[in-house]
């Protein structure tokens, strides 16, 4: 198979003098191609060689090559399809908004105790590090790709990290009466202009808000998702997240994140840009150091 691809490559690109001579010998990649190969290799346990990458790029017919081309961000402001990813995700409520979150005295004390314990070598573990769903809004701060999908009356958020799955009900104004508590809560949403407003409640109290601060079961989270237009089109999805938990904070407060559109990643092998993340098998949040210490990232 590989040889057939290589042969096809030679025929297709016959005008180029230094194309594939034999398997494993390839022309030198341009800097842009090398950068793309590096990007494509991210997250792959076995890196593609330049030969394999060129075969993938050049092999197949024209329709196939076109199929792997990145798609631009949709022009419709209510169209959230495509791949979005927060770069270098992080959340620290002590530093958020330059002033810290409005902790109640008790929550401030709890948060500081955890920070001190960690400074003295304690390994902190939380829901996400044990492969439970991350909770909301914590899920919004993970640096992994997200896809939206649409059903009649519902919008799905499909997260690569820990295959977290959120379901936003557009066909009702509130959660049913018997709704149980859960890690990701119960979400209802509606459109205000081109902003998707999502209100989530019925959380359990097992997920942290960042890495040290907690919340209770009275937590209500309001997310406002809006595409932001730049000269390149709708390149960012901006989410304003309002956290309201009277048992842990003295007033509601809002944090903001920008998720860039990642058309480049959509061609990553796998589920249309979402690489399988099996937390249960291989927890990427946990790292064991050479001296045997477990670090929860």
């Amino acid at each position: 198979m590989r040889q057939m691809l290589v042969l096809a490559l030679v025929i297709v690109a016959g005008m180029s003098t230094a194309v594939v001579a034999q398997e494993g010998t390839v022309r030198k990649l341009t800097p842009a191609e090398q950068a793309q190969l590096d990007t494509d290799n991210k997250g792959r346990a076995t890196a593609m060689t330049a030969a394999q990458w060129l075969a993938r790029r050049s092999g197949g017919n024209q329709a196939e090559r076109k199929a792997w081309e990145p798609t631009p961000p949709p022009a419709d402001p209510r169209d959230f399809t495509g791949l979005w990813q927060l770069p270098g995700g992080n959340i620290n409520l002590l530093q958020e908004n330059g002033e810290g979150a409005p902790f109640t005295p008790e929550e401030a004390k709890r948060t500081q105790q955890l920070i001190d314990a960690e400074a003295h070598g304690a390994v902190l573990t939380d829901a996400a590090s044990q492969c439970f769903p991350h909770g909301v809004p914590r899920l919004n701060f993970a640096p992994y790709p997200i896809r939206f999908a649409y059903l009649p009356g519902e919008i799905l958020m499909l997260h690569e990290v820990g295959h977290n799955l959120r379901l936003i009900h557009l066909d009702r104004k509130e959660a049913p009466k018997d709704t149980p508590q859960s890690f990701l809560g119960y979400s209802v949403g509606h459109w205000e202009g081109d902003t998707l407003v999502v209100e989530t409640s019925h959380f359990n109290d097992k997920t942290p808000l960042d890495f040290h601060s907690s919340h209770g079961t009275k937590l209500k989270v309001t997310e406002r998702f809006q595409k932001q237009k730049t000269s390149q089109g709708y390149t960012d999805l901006v989410v304003h997240i309002t956290i309201d938990d009277p048992e842990h904070f003295t007033r509601p407060f809002t944090v903001v994140r920008h998720w860039p559109f990642r058309s480049d990643m959509a061609a990553t092998l796998g589920a249309d840009g979402i690489t399988e993340y099996s937390c249960e098998e291989n927890n990427r949040n946990v790292e064991t150091t050479s001296d045997g210490r477990v670090i929860i990232k």
């Binding site: 198979m1 593609m48 419709d76 169209d79 059903l151 009649p152 990701l184 099996s278």
Partner: protein
């Protein structure tokens, strides 16, 4: 909290059938952004579905044992023996992601969210989803694939039938609850055909030259679950919560 197929849902289905309301023919993609709507006439599999008859042990379409090669037959027998003494020898007892096709007949409902370029298959069991591109072909360099629990899938239309091909799966998963094994060379073809608005006739073809002496097929049925609200379903082994 096992999902139980409720007779009341059967009743709803019967009314819909009698009324002649066909979601499949309505061509209504109003819930999708305009640019993501499939071409007119594309069959619509969007909705909530469940398998009324759970399948524990896969058999061929004509009810026979799968055509296992001798080594695979021995492995199947060993898996079955292990299950008898230790139910946790089932890979899903570790909460690992169920492979294809096993995820299809987990005892929980599923959602299908379809658009122009892809079919999203969302399973309640352990919040698992598959995003199947209708635009991008299967990768060609099979030898270079890192195996995944759900493998690598690509879909296409064969007339009104949705066809999904999957390769590149871990060999640690079982094909069914009875312990039927497979190798990393497994290729699964799923064929989904609407039979009226509220029923999908499914067909699986399994090809695995290291496990089976020849490709073989089996069938399953999915029935629409109007109004079903997918639950948070979490499976975690060995935790401190």
């Amino acid at each position: 909290m096992k999902f139980v197929f409720k007779p009341v849902l059967l009743a709803v289905t019967a009314v819909l059938l009698a009324g002649g309301v066909s979601a499949a023919d309505s061509d209504s993609w109003a819930h999708l952004p305009a640019a993501q709507r499939p071409d007119p006439g594309t069959p619509d599999y969007t909705g909530k579905w469940a398998m009324p008859t759970p399948i524990r042990a896969l058999k061929t379409t004509d009810g026979k044992e799968p055509p296992l090669l001798p080594a695979a037959k021995a492995k199947y027998a060993a898996n079955q023996a292990a299950l008898k003494t230790n139910p946790k020898s089932d890979p899903i007892a570790n909460c690992w992601i169920q492979g294809v096709p096993r995820i299809i007949y987990a005892s929980y409902p599923m959602l299908i969210a379809q658009d122009k370029d892809r079919v999203n298959l969302v399973y309640e069991t352990n919040h698992t989803f598959r995003i199947v591109s209708l635009r991008r072909p299967l990768p060609k360099w099979d030898d270079d694939l890192d195996p995944h629990w759900l493998g690598y899938s690509a879909g296409h239309w064969d007339g009104k039938t949705l066809v999904i091909d999957t390769i590149g799966q871990h060999d640690q998963s079982w094909l069914d609850y009875s312990g039927l094994p497979h190798s990393e060379k497994l290729r699964v073809q799923e064929r989904y055909t609407l039979d009226g608005p509220d029923r999908i006739n499914g067909e699986l073809t399994l090809t695995d030259p290291e496990t089976f002496s020849q490709p073989w097929s089996t069938r399953f049925t999915l029935v629409r679950q109007p109004g079903y609200d997918l639950k948070e379903n979490v499976c975690v082994r060995d935790h401190k919560m």
